[in-house]
Symmetry: C2
Subunit: 425 residues, 2 copies
């Protein structure tokens, strides 16, 4: 017997059913925000991926030579491909460009729960506008996606990287060196955190203020004055970032989504390519497990050869949603039973097939594909969860009648074929 590869998943109907609901819900939700679906290729030149993520990524992805000797790879994420699509039509696209996509990705990593070698992500991006309203649009859309899936125990932790950037700069510390350390904070001991920061020139005063800043966590409108106060001398250069964050808080409040958002400067997102606003979504129940994140990345389009163009977006991994929704007991349960199952008794094919054809115009309907006894057909209809059976029997058909039976209530009616067709339309 041939096995599937390690780290990939077969979706049987009962596995796929929930996925389909999630895909449809996410797509339907973001469409209401004016995002339009796109699709990118699964294979791209390796150069494009390393240009964004550096050469080290090659070890973590499916990279290989095609038969023409080109270095190509299975895409590990969507953003570079979307950016490439933007660049190639940059002059003609109407701004803002609002795109979404459900896509498959591959990483050659050690498989573990919620992290497979082949996985699906849902991407949402807006290009061409740099404003608090554009940041708001992305956040509101992300929050709405979670709500529409039936989730409620989540929190968007929002920051603006320019605040910490200004803070570190005012202390003569290189923010590029500091961000990766800040990003690790929750994973290391306090002493180690202090030591790592010391190595890049963070003195006691700076450290004290930093810790105060990182511990401000709460509603945006309450936190922003605290942030401004804690920044001290660094506040001036951060003023526009603070204003943006403040406006973002106001817009989310007007929109009714502020209960799902809090300020949290410890969110910097390790990825070098984020600029300005960043966020990470946490599961409030499971001791703040990170679910997904996003933010603004205003330099990527230029990096990939385009004209400078602002951008913001997020990517939700479908596996973590599946884990979360199953834990919450809201994973969609399949109901595969056909609306109608046609049971035949005797030589009634002509009418039975005609009825099948009629019913299928608007309902799910099935019929035995073999030549089994009526009792077995009925048993099968029950087994597969059919809602109704239509019994077409030689005897009733002599009077042009058939029986419609509701399998849950047991109610049944004798109907003429014409009456049946009117009822089941």
């Amino acid at each position: 017997m041939i096995e599937k590869l390690r780290g990939v998943r077969d979706f049987y109907p009962e596995d796929y059913y929930g996925r389909r609901q999630i895909y449809d819900t996410l797509t339907r939700t973001v469409r209401r925000y004016g995002f339009k679906e796109i699709a990118t290729p699964s294979i791209e030149s390796l150069e494009m991926i390393t240009k964004k993520s550096g050469d080290a990524i090659v070890d973590e992805i499916y990279a290989f030579k095609d038969k023409g000797g080109r270095d190509i790879c299975l895409i590990p994420e969507l953003t570079p491909s979307v950016a490439r699509m933007i660049v190639s039509r940059q002059k003609v696209l109407t701004k803002p460009v609002k795109w979404c996509s459900l896509s498959r990705h591959w990483r050659y990593e050690r498989p573990q729960k919620g992290r497979q070698r082949e996985f699906y992500q849902f991407n949402v991006d807006v290009f061409g506008v740099r404003s608090a309203r554009a940041d708001f649009e992305i956040l509101a859309c992300g929050i709405d996606c979670m709500r529409e899936l039936g989730l409620d125990n989540f929190m968007f932790h929002v920051s603006n990287r320019n605040i910490l950037d200004a803070f570190f700069t005012s202390y003569g510390v290189d923010p590029k060196a500091a961000f990766p350390i800040v990003d690790k904070r929750s994973k290391v001991q306090e002493d180690d955190f202090r030591e790592m920061l010391g190595e890049i020139g963070v003195d006691d005063k700076c450290y004290g203020r930093l810790v105060s800043l990182l511990e401000i966590k709460g509603p945006l409108h309450e936190s922003i004055p605290k942030i401004a106060a804690a920044l001290g001398e660094g506040a001036e250069n951060a003023s526009s970032a603070i204003d943006d964050l403040s406006t973002l808080g106001v817009l989310l409040d007007h929109y009714g989504f502020s209960k799902h958002c809090m300020a949290d400067l410890s969110i910097v997102r390790g990825l070098a390519y984020y600029t300005d606003m960043v966020f990470e979504v946490f599961d409030k129940k499971k001791s703040l497990r990170s679910l997904f994140g996003g933010g603004r990345y205003d330099n990527l389009i230029e990096l990939l050869g385009g004209q400078s163009m602002p951008a913001a977006g997020f990517a939700i991994g479908i596996p973590i949603l599946e884990i979360l929704m199953k834990e919450e007991g809201i994973w969609p349960q399949p109901d595969f039973g056909p609306e109608y199952y046609i049971v035949t008794i005797g030589d009634v094919d002509k009418t039975a097939i005609d009825i099948l054809s009629h019913v299928r115009r608007s309902h799910t309907a099935e019929m035995s594909l073999g030549t089994t006894k009526p009792s077995k057909q009925l048993k099968h209809a029950n087994n597969i969860g059919a809602k109704h059976v239509i019994i077409v029997g030689e005897r009733e058909l002599a009077d042009s009648n058939v029986t419609l039976k509701d399998l849950s209530s047991g109610d049944q009616q004798l109907l003429s074929v014409e009456e049946l067709k009117k009822i089941v339309a």
Copy 2:
């Protein structure tokens, strides 16, 4: 600027829109037949693919070694993966197993119109039943897919390979040698066809009868008596295949689909793995261009290590549907304009964003992401094809009013915010 790879396609929203409609239509149609969606991995062991298709396929696909040294490939078709999924749960699956899938495939071929290196297919298969009814289910479902897409100028050419098998056997000719030649008939000169058949032992009498058989093309119920007559001494061994084809014709007739079907013994489908019923779908307008095909393949599950299990199905390539629907002028045209666009005049964010939040619960709604003048917002609303604008202006808002304007008729009403929310719910 980084380019996409050769032979792959970027789907911009205007390209993807039609694809999405097709995917949804196909899925919705086959669901009514009781087919359930599955999804397979995109990467599989190379061994599985060569087991079905032979080693020569390696030159035509994306085959490579993963970082663990395994020979793997991007799947060139769905059937082997589906068969693998069947095999791995063969004992517990309720029969008939009816699965469908929209999937992405890759072939390393010279790109040409309608044939890209990365492409989508829609697969439909039924496992576990060997009967004319199961064949009928597959054909009816295929026909319905075409009809639901709005197509009408197509014809399913149906055969049963066992008829020609019995015919050739009765003349002492190896059917395995003869089928590939029959398959080539429309592409070669008559003399060459005759010569190739001569080389495998087809004498004049056999050739004469074969040509008569291959030229019988017409409604199934008319053609079957002709086929039986033309078979002569070979008819006896073909009788069960003829009966099956005859029953299939009767069922399709009861179902109302016989106008889309004809008998055509020249359809053998080159692929070695088909058994019994085979069909190919042709475009009636374009001098019988082949659109897609399918049939019964009762030996594949066993070949891939399972218990013997009958199977039948088809795969529709989405690119050919796109070409065809565009030619017919029925390719779905995108209508991306949002239902509502909110135009703001002055400092009205609180109300405008509250309205936006309300409207988006059930409609597509957008709002400027920048801080542009009202006239520019209105112009943008028109440009993107918005159906209505909701004008939230400081002056009207002083009396708690906003304006709802229908952009196609030009009609506008002054409404209180509460009235608006009731109308747009």
